[in-house]
């Protein structure tokens, strides 16, 4: 191996003249987390709405939900980013398109919207699976008690469904963090982009990518442990592990 290792590179000033290379990576981590969290809020909102729509008894709503999921699941995230970033401003009325293009941090907002909708299709599938895993009697009982249909979702079905699908939602959130790296293609300076920039400026390829890898692993472990704590707290008693005992006469 004729590669010159130089771990001290992290404490040298980067070409922006203000921050050290380590600080630029941490700034990138901030953008990664901001993008992933904002996109996750969007994904949870739309994912829940679409997931609920797919379980309602109205065929047109269920079909709309299915079309939504297929649309966002069958186009690569990178292509979706390009559609939001390059295509949307062109097909909108000229003044709206120009306003979009001149927006400060346009790549951040675009990344949030693209990643949010992309993830929402996956969240919708989980929410639907969670609602369908509940006994039919739950909704019947809610309706029999005089709750309206929206109320039955809001107070009975969704609170249970969320607690059941928490583990798969955790891995969707981890995917959301990792997928935010695709936004470097539209110019968002998140963690992977900063590592790439550091490699181009300093020629210390492996130090830059090692640091980014370590940061991603730390984020992963932190989220996994945090969510495991929440999962324990939110677990439905008597549901996890063994199936509920069958009543016999």
């Amino acid at each position: 191996m004729n590669y010159n290792w130089n771990w001290g590179i992290f404490f040298q000033t980067s070409p922006d003249g203000v921050h050290t290379y380590l600080e630029t990576l941490l700034l990138g981590t901030g953008w990664t987390l901001a993008t992933a969290l904002a996109a996750w809020c969007l994904a949870l909102t739309f994912g829940s709405l679409v997931g609920v729509a797919r379980t309602t008894p109205y065929p047109w709503l269920a079909r709309f939900g299915q079309a939504y999921v297929e649309l966002f699941r069958n186009i690569p995230l990178l292509v979706q980013m390009f559609l939001w970033y390059f295509v949307l401003p062109e097909v909108l009325p000229v003044h709206v398109g120009d306003w979009l293009k001149q927006l400060p941090d346009a790549s951040f907002y675009t990344a949030v919207v693209a990643l949010g909708f992309y993830t929402s299709a996956r969240v919708a599938e989980q929410v639907r699976a969670g609602i369908l895993s509940l006994a039919r009697g739950q909704q019947m009982a809610a309706l029999a008690l005089g709750l309206t249909q929206p109320q039955s979702y809001l107070y009975v079905l969704l609170p249970m469904a969320y607690r059941i699908i928490l583990p798969p939602l955790t891995s969707e959130f981890l995917n959301c963090i990792k997928n935010s790296s695709v936004a470097l293609t539209i110019g968002l300076m998140e963690l992977t982009a900063r590592a790439r920039a550091m490699q181009e400026m300093s020629f210390q390829v492996f130090e830059a990518f090692t640091a980014a890898t370590v940061i991603y692993i730390v984020i992963n472990i932190a989220v996994t442990y945090g969510m495991r704590w929440i999962e324990r707290y939110a677990a439905v008693p008597g549901l996890l592990g063994a199936p509920p005992p069958v009543a016999t006469h």
């Binding site: 191996m1 004729n2 590669y3 297929e70 649309l71 699941r73 069958n74 186009i75 690569p76 995230l77 990178l78 292509v79 979706q80 390009f82 559609l83 390059f86 295509v87 062109e90 097909v91 981890l174 990792k178 997928n179 935010s180 790296s181 695709v182 470097l184 293609t185 992977t192 590592a195 790439r196 490699q199 390829v205 492996f206 990518f209 980014a212 890898t213 991603y216 692993i217 992963n220 472990i221």
Partner: protein, 230 residues
């Protein structure tokens, strides 16, 4: 919206898009799937072997690959593969490998982690009595795995493996970050040369959608067809 939509640019670039671009995308998808399933199955067998020197490295590898974004791994291997080639062949300087080799190695090694998790679930879905029966018949470990367990594991997991292949097909678009001419790369080059971003990116999205959607419908049909009636 379609008033100045230039369909002609799409038609003119069809040969380039499909002959140069889509060939790369599909070849990469196919080879990375085969390599990923082989390596992933080995990883799964290592993980389930019950021997710590085998299972710990396999688990570490899978968890490492699964916690890092694919884009970062593409960059990693783009710079790492020449050094690995130098190390294997004992050459005096890093070996220049083409963009295709580099991305093939990346996708094989990266997707192997995901295929390994699928195969692990598949192997664990085989009833314990099957292994016991094979051993009672005097089969060795290799025979048990290759004649009894793995065929059933593959059959049980076929729909999931194919779904993962569709994801892999979509993921190959990320070689864009290395300026490789895959399908999206070809579309993007024409888009920038002719200033036709709207047409080319919409067309690329439609093509990706049609292929992925059709493939997922086929997987669903296959799933109902090969399901073992128990």
């Amino acid at each position: 919206m379609f008033s100045n939509f230039d369909f002609d640019v799409i038609i003119r670039s069809l040969p380039y898009l499909f002959y140069d671009g889509m060939t790369f995308t599909l070849t990469l998808t196919a080879l990375a799937t085969i390599g990923g399933i082989i390596f992933g199955t080995l990883l799964a067998l290592m993980r389930l072997s019950g021997l710590a020197p085998l299972s710990l490295p396999a688990a570490g590898y899978v968890n490492l690959m699964r916690s890092v974004p694919l884009v970062l791994m593409i960059f990693w291997f783009y710079f790492l593969v020449p050094f690995i080639g130098q190390w294997i062949t004992g050459a005096s300087r890093p070996i220049q490998v083409g963009a295709f080799m580099s991305s093939l190695v990346t996708f094989t090694l990266f997707e192997a982690a995901y295929f390994s998790e699928i195969m692990r679930a598949g192997i664990q879905s085989v009833a314990r009595g099957q292994v016991g029966a094979a051993q009672a018949l005097g089969m060795t470990y290799v025979q048990t795995m290759s004649y009894i367990v793995l065929p059933q594991a593959f059959r049980n997991m076929m729909p999931v493996l194919l779904t993962q292949t569709i994801i892999l097909f979509q993921d190959t678009s990320l070689v864009y970050v290395l300026s490789i001419t895959d399908f999206l790369g070809a579309a993007s080059k024409i888009a920038q040369r002719d200033g036709r971003l709207v047409e080319m990116y919409l067309f690329a999205a439609v093509v990706y959608f049609i292929i992925s959607f059709a493939a997922s419908l086929l997987v669903r049909r296959l799933q109902s067809r090969i399901a073992i009636i128990r």
